[in-house]
Subunit: 167 residues, 2 copies
Amino acid sequence: MIMDVKPLGIINTPFTESTGTPIQPRMAHGALGTVEVFDEYVPGLKDIEGFERIWLLFWCHQAASPKLHVKPYMDTREHGLFTTRAPARPNPIGISSVRLLEVKENILKVADVDMLDGTPLLDIKPYAPKFDCFEVQRCGWLDTVNNHSGLADNRFEQTRNIKEDNK
Amino acid sequence: MIMDVKPLGIINTPFTESTGTPIQPRMAHGALGTVEVFDEYVPGLKDIEGFERIWLLFWCHQAASPKLHVKPYMDTREHGLFTTRAPARPNPIGISSVRLLEVKENILKVADVDMLDGTPLLDIKPYAPKFDCFEVQRCGWLDTVNNHSGLADNRFEQTRNIKEDNK
């Protein structure tokens, strides 16, 4: 089975490095971005302006190699990777529910972005509370942490290529 | 940039064809499944039993070729693909929040499954209302539909290979 993904567009955000980037849309304080959808996929946007929020699926293109035990941004203890939303994953796919503000042809203006500038878009899905909201009583280690800035540092960022830095 | 994904495991469910498969976890009435995580990724499950729900990201391996205008399961009208959760997408990646019932080594017993048996697992993320639940006022065409069975038919399923059928 061939399982390769292709970019359907590019997500533009104010964030050029991990440090200082919101770690989730909820912590993004309305940060504005645009999703540039490649022309061939624009017909798939029909009726999207009716949705207040949309899921963006994206490729964490600047993420470091995966580690299976990580100290997530929000904790000082190590946890299993799959109990965290850390970007450094075997398949570095992120999911973020962003607010859809405006649609102009192939450009979606969105708020609450939490990804790096230039991130490849993999998919757009409608966000619907009836599909996506569930009450839960237990959220593992996430229940024990508070008081986090909501901003990332560079712990999961790819090491820069030294040759490029020296150019 | 290389963007290929690999299976981290296999999702086993009671559903061997699209017809009759729940279209979302919310409509799955607790349907039971198991996630078999491949051995090399098991360390990443550390602490996962503390989470009541988890996101499964998966490859819709039986989905038909993508169409950019589709009649979704829940409507008789055509909509842009990206306003639907139809599996036939340019990057056929599904996201489902399932209930985590039990963890035994590399096997996760889960409820509310809505994918086909044998679906390749791409990622597991913790489900957290503080990250994933947003109130919205508008859900586009989804606000106008009701009274759906919550079960899929075969409209987005790959046509079977005739040679294989004749074997």
